[in-house]
C-alpha cells in the first residue's frame, strides 16, 4: 500500500476524497432539507406535511428522487436542444464549484488523518471574490433555460429572473467589503480565524448592517422567498423553467438548494465566527476530538441559518417586482456604500472598532426614516381619482 502511495501525490488523493465527500454529503443533505422544509411549512400552516412514505415520511426524499428520475422527459418542439439540456447543468455546477473555497471545519489543525482536509482548495487568497465570480455565472443557467425553451413566457421569465440576480450581486459584493477592510484579507479561512478570539470578535457585532444586507441579497440570489419572483409558484406557473420536467427540473432546484447551503455557510463563517464558540470550540481547545466538536458547532450554525431561511418563507410576503428593484438599487446599494465609507473612516482615523456598531444602527435608522418620509410624501401628493381620470382622458 505504501509503495503505491509513494507514486500518487497525497495532495491529489486528499483533494479527490474531499470533493467526493463534499458533493455526496451536500446532495444527500439537500434531499432531506427539502423534507425538513416541507415539514416546517406544514407545521407553520397547521397541517401535517409528508407522512405517507415511511415512518413520519422520512422516505419521502427517496420517493421524490425516484419520481424525478422516472417522469417523462419533455423537450418542447423547436427548442434549442443543446442549451435546453445544458442550462440546468450550468446552474447546478456553478453553485457546486463555489464550495471549493468554503472551509467546512478547522483548517490546518493537528491530530486529524492526512486524508482529511476541510477545504477543497486551500491557499486561495481571494476566497470570497472567487465565490462571487463563480456564482455570478449561475445566471447563465437561468437565462439560457428560459431562452432555449422556445416559449415567450419562459423567455420573459428568464429575463426577469436574471435582472433580479444581476441587481442583487452588487449589494452582495459590496456588503462584504467592510469585513474585507477590517480583516484586510479576502481569504475566508483567515477571516474566520480573526473571529476566534472571543465571542465579541464575531464580525456580526461590528458589522450588523453588512450582515443584514449580505443575508438579504444572498436570499435574492438564491431565488428564495420573499424574493422568489422568478418562479413564484402561485402566480407564474414556473417562469423560466415552465418547460422543464423530471430530472432537469430537479437540477434547477438542487442548484437553488445548494445555493441556500452556500449562503448559510458564508453567513455563519463571515459573521458568526464559523466553528468558534466560547468555551466549547476555541483555537486553544485541545481535548480529544476537538475538531469533531468544531465541525459540529459550524454545522449547527449553518443549520440554524437554513432553518431561519425556511421560517422566513412563510413569514414575509413576496415582493412585487418594482419593490424588489427599489430595495436593491435604492436601499441596499446606498446602505452598503455608506457602510463601506464608515469602515474606511474608522480605519483611516484609527478610531475604536466599536464605533461601527452605533454607526451601522444609525445608518439603518436613517434609511428607515427616509423611506417612511418618502412614502408619506408620495401618499400626500398622490393624484385623486378625478385627476387621474382627467389625465387618462387627455
Amino acid at each position: 500500500m505504501d509503495a503505491i502511495l509513494e507514486y500518487i501525490p497525497k495532495e491529489l488523493i486528499t483533494t479527490l476524497v474531499t470533493i467526493a465527500v463534499v458533493v455526496g454529503v451536500t446532495l444527500g443533505v439537500i434531499s432531506y432539507l427539502i423534507l425538513l422544509e416541507r415539514k416546517l411549512s406544514a407545521w407553520m400552516q397547521d397541517r401535517r406535511g409528508p407522512n405517507r412514505v415511511g415512518p413520519m415520511g422520512i422516505f419521502q426524499p427517496l420517493a421524490d428522487g425516484a419520481k424525478f428520475l422516472l417522469k417523462e422527459e419533455v423537450t418542447p418542439a423547436g427548442a434549442d436542444k443543446v442549451l435546453f439540456y445544458a442550462a440546468p447543468g450550468i446552474g447546478f455546477m456553478t453553485t457546486m464549484l463555489a464550495f471549493s473555497v468554503v472551509p467546512f471545519g478547522p483548517v490546518g489543525v493537528e491530530g486529524i488523518p492526512w486524508f482529511v482536509r476541510f477545504l477543497i482548495a486551500p491557499d486561495v487568497n481571494i476566497g470570497i471574490v472567487f465565490i462571487f465570480a463563480i456564482t455570478s455565472l449561475s445566471v447563465y443557467g437561468v437565462i439560457l433555460g428560459g431562452w432555449a425553451s422556445n416559449n415567450k413566457y419562459s423567455a420573459l421569465g428568464s429575463l426577469r429572473a436574471s435582472a433580479q440576480v444581476i441587481s442583487y450581486e452588487i449589494p452582495l459584493g459590496m456588503s462584504i467589503l467592510g469585513i474585507a477592510l477590517l480583516g484586510s484579507t479576502l481569504d475566508i479561512n483567515t477571516l474566520l480565524m480573526q473571529q476566534t478570539g472571543s465571542f465579541w470578535d464575531w464580525y456580526f457585532w461590528t458589522q450588523p448592517l453588512a450582515c443584514l444586507i449580505f443575508f438579504t441579497s444572498a436570499l435574492a440570489e438564491a431565488n428564495r422567498l420573499p424574493f422568489d419572483l422568478s418562479e413564484c409558484e402561485q402566480e407564474l406557473v414556473g417562469g423560466f423553467h415552465t418547460e422543464y420536467s423530471s430530472m432537469k427540473f430537479a437540477l434547477f432546484f438542487l442548484g437553488e438548494y445548494a445555493h441556500v447551503i452556500l449562503t448559510s455557510f458564508l453567513t455563519s463563517i463571515l459573521f458568526f465566527g464559523g466553528w468558534h464558540f466560547p468555551w466549547i470550540a476555541t483555537p486553544e481547545s485541545a481535548y480529544t476530538g476537538a475538531w469533531v466538536v468544531k465541525i459540529g458547532v459550524l454545522l449547527f450554525k449553518v443549520g440554524m441559518v437554513i432553518v431561519f431561511i425556511m421560517l422566513l418563507r412563510w413569514t414575509i410576503p413576496r415582493f412585487r417586482f418594482d419593490q424588489l428593484m427599489n430595495l436593491s438599487w435604492k436601499a441596499l446599494i446606498p446602505l452598503s456604500l455608506a457602510n463601506m465609507v464608515a469602515v474606511m473612516t474608522v480605519l483611516q482615523f484609527g478610531w475604536d472598532r466599536w464605533w461601527l456598531t452605533p454607526i451601522s444602527l444609525g445608518l439603518f435608522a436613517v434609511a428607515g426614516l427616509i423611506s417612511v418620509a418618502m412614502k408619506r410624501a408620495e401618499i400626500r401628493h398622490r393624484p385623486s381619482a378625478a385627476e387621474l381620470a382627467h389625465q387618462f382622458a387627455t
Binding site: L83, I126, F130, F132, A133, S136, L137, V139, W147, E169
Partner: protein, 244 residues
C-alpha cells in the same frame, strides 16, 4: 537565428495571417475563403511559434495548453458561429480560458474580476439584447462582415505591436528558465513605472501597485469612466413622467 531574420519571420507571418483573414471574411468563392482561413491559421501559428514553449513543469504545461486551446477554440467558434446567442456563449468560454491563464500567472484577483465583469455582467447584457431584439434567431446581417478591412488592419496591427513587444523583452532580459521576462524599462510609460522586485500574486501587492505605482493611470481611467457615466445619463432620452 539573427535578430532581423526573427523579425522578418514574425512580421511576414503576421502579414500572411492578415491577408488570409481578409480573404476569409470577404464575399468570395468558397474555395478562396477556405484558402484564406488556412493562410490565416498558418500565419498565426507561425507568428506564435517564434516564441518557444512555455516554461514550467508538466502540470503547468498541460494546464497552459488546456487553457490556451480552449480560449483559442472558443474565440474561433465565436467569430464563426452563425447564431448570435452561441457567439455570446463562446465569448464567455473564451473569457474563462483567458482567466485560467491569469490564474497560472499568479493573478487570481484579475481572473476573478474578469469573470465577474465580462462573463458575469457584460455578456449577460449582450444576451439580454440579443434575446429581446432578435426573437426569430438569425438575422442576415449577423453572418456577413460589411467592412472587414478596417477591423482586420486594426486587430492585426495590435497583435503585431504586442508580439513585437514580447520579442523586445525576450531580447533584453532572457530569464533563467528561457521564458520572457518583463523589465522595468520595457513596461514604463511617462506616468507610471513599476517597482523592481515588488511581490506579486497577493491582493495586498495588487492594491499597493494600483494605488502606488499606477496611481495616475488608475485615476485617469476612473475619471474617464465617471465622465462617460454622466454623459450617458445626459444623452439618454427623457420620457414623460410615469411612462416606461
Amino acid at each position: 537565428m539573427s535578430e532581423s531574420a526573427a523579425q522578418n519571420i514574425l512580421f511576414g507571418s503576421l502579414v500572411a495571417g492578415a491577408i488570409g483573414m481578409w480573404l476569409a471574411a470577404s464575399q468570395r468563392a468558397a474555395g478562396l475563403r477556405l484558402l484564406g482561413s488556412i493562410l490565416a491559421s498558418a500565419g498565426l501559428i507561425a507568428a506564435v511559434t517564434t516564441f518557444g514553449n512555455p516554461a514550467g513543469d508538466l502540470t503547468d504545461k498541460i494546464l497552459f495548453w488546456m487553457f490556451t486551446g480552449s480560449a483559442l477554440l472558443s474565440a474561433v467558434m465565436m467569430v464563426t458561429s452563425r447564431s448570435p446567442v452561441y457567439a455570446a456563449l463562446w465569448f464567455a468560454l473564451a473569457t474563462l480560458g483567458a482567466c485560467g491563464l491569469f490564474m497560472m500567472q499568479s493573478a487570481p484577483f484579475l481572473a476573478a474580476a474578469t469573470i465577474i465583469v465580462y462573463a458575469g455582467a457584460i455578456i449577460v447584457t449582450f444576451l439580454f439584447v440579443i434575446m429581446l431584439a432578435q426573437q426569430q434567431g438569425r438575422v442576415f446581417y449577423d453572418y456577413r462582415s460589411r467592412t472587414p478591412i478596417m477591423s482586420i488592419v486594426a486587430s492585426w496591427l495590435m497583435l503585431a505591436a504586442l508580439l513585437w513587444n514580447f520579442q523586445e523583452w525576450q531580447k533584453k532580459a532572457p530569464a533563467a528558465d528561457g521564458g520572457p521576462a518583463l523589465t522595468a524599462a520595457a513596461a514604463s510609460n511617462p506616468f507610471s513605472e513599476p517597482k523592481e522586485n515588488s511581490p506579486y500574486g497577493s491582493l495586498r501587492s495588487l492594491g499597493l501597485s494600483l494605488f502606488g505605482d499606477y496611481l495616475y493611470a488608475v485615476e485617469i481611467a476612473g475619471t474617464l469612466l465617471l465622465v462617460a457615466g454622466i454623459g450617458a445619463i445626459a444623452i439618454a432620452p427623457r420620457r414623460a413622467e410615469g411612462t416606461l
